[in-house]
């Protein structure tokens, strides 16, 4: 081949074929099958030598090309006879390349459209907007309208948007005092586990409306206890509570 091509840049066999046809500067309606097939096979071979994953679709297309090539090589008459039993008479004139040409044209159309979409995507990524304001303050108490047009999907989507929003946001910093030490909390957790007969649920560690600091302390205390192999934590499923269990014969002190 007189030109090099980036082998991993093809979306599939049709993409590769379009590329070869473009390079050869031939009419898509009159593809020189022998020439294109040869180049196609060389490309696949190169991909193979470079140990790139040659997807099965590429191989299937190679077979299709070879089949078209052999059909074209068959004397016209014989082909007619072969086809007669299978097709109508008017099908005799069919060029074995037609199917492929149609597929290529169809694919090329969408490739062109995809290019336009790419430009639109780029354009849109250059503008920004703001989330809608909560209109609740403008709603008069006595006449709250019933909800409409809200789907479960909207709800889940809202949650996802929120996560995206919070992820990009710096955590608000507020200073507060550490009231319970991690060491104290470790002792408390171990007691709770003991009282619970060797097990306690994560949610049971927070019996009241605790502050962030307390949650942090508890969390760190748990990590410490896990590190010292005094407890293990198991969560069976998403959304389910974490089960904290005492480690039998583990580190009984849980302290360094």
């Amino acid at each position: 081949m007189s030109y090099s091509i980036k082998l991993d840049s093809f979306e599939g066999p049709l993409d590769l074929l379009l590329h070869l046809i473009d390079k050869a500067e031939v009419d898509i309606y009159d593809i020189p099958i022998a020439e294109i097939t040869e180049q196609y096979l060389i490309t696949i071979q190169t991909m193979h030598e470079l140990q790139l994953d040659v997807a099965s679709e590429f191989v299937v297309m190679a077979a299709t090309l070879l089949s078209i090539k052999s059909k074209l090589l068959l004397p016209k008459k014989e082909e007619q006879q072969l086809d007669m039993s299978l097709y109508d008479y008017d099908m005799d004139e069919m060029d074995p390349r037609d199917d492929l040409v149609q597929r290529l044209l169809e694919y090329k159309k969408f490739k062109k459209v995809a290019e336009q979409l790419r430009e639109m995507e780029m354009g849109r990524s250059h503008v920004f907007t703001r989330p809608a304001e909560d209109l609740t303050p403008y709603v008069r108490e006595e006449e709250q309208p019933a909800i409409k047009n809200v789907t479960l999907f909207d709800m889940v989507q809202a949650l996802e948007n929120m996560i995206q929003r919070l992820k990009t946001k710096d955590p608000v910093t507020k200073v507060s005092r550490d009231e319970v030490s991690i060491k104290d909390r470790m002792t408390e957790i171990r007691q709770l586990v003991k009282v619970g007969g060797g097990h306690v649920r994560f949610s049971q560690l927070f019996v009241n409306d605790v502050s962030r600091t307390e949650i942090v302390t508890t969390f760190l205390a748990l990590l410490e206890l896990m590190k010292s192999k005094a407890i293990t934590c198991v969560q069976n499923q998403l959304f389910t509570d974490i089960m904290i269990s005492e480690v039998k014969g583990g580190n009984n002190s849980g302290f360094e």
Binding site: E11, Y29, K109, V113, L117, E121, H126, F128, E133, Q164
Partner: protein, 198 residues
Amino acid sequence: MDLNKMKSVVEGLLFLAGDEGLESKQIAEILELNEARVIDLMDEMKKDFIQAGRGIQIVEVARAYQFTTLPEHMPYFEKMAHSPTNSTLSQAALETLAIVAYRQPITRSDIEEIRGVKCEKALHTLMTKVLIKEIGRAEGIGRPILYGTTREFLDYFGLKDIGDLPEPPVNLSMELDELEASQLFAKKEITENDQTLE
């Protein structure tokens, strides 16, 4: 209500509506105007904003009017904003999306037929980004899932509605001819210019 007041109210409304935007019908209801009048008003305001060198613009996305910032100001916002389109789609996803957009409702195997490759991963990506969704099941064996585009799709590309998609190229085989023709015309023009210069 005079024109200036109307424009002023609409500005407030669009500001509150944010990325959800407002449809002409909604604006018409709130201002007690007919919808055609609102559409004219919005066209006028679009121009006003450009003329006044305003820092926000009115765009129509998914049939709703909304404010966005100006593309040329992007460098100033990068630090603080979230973009409706914050990562670009892969080529595979984009091609798959193009097929779904123009051929919806369509099954996975029909998409794969057109692209000539598997597109399970691309479909999954597009579903996760909510650019496409299942819109039903086809008849027949297995009752395969039919895919279509979402409102988010329109938003992602800044399209007014699905009819706003770019025209697909009609006849690709014409391309060469067209190219030659356009070159001929270009040539002709030059010749004409040439002649006028003479």
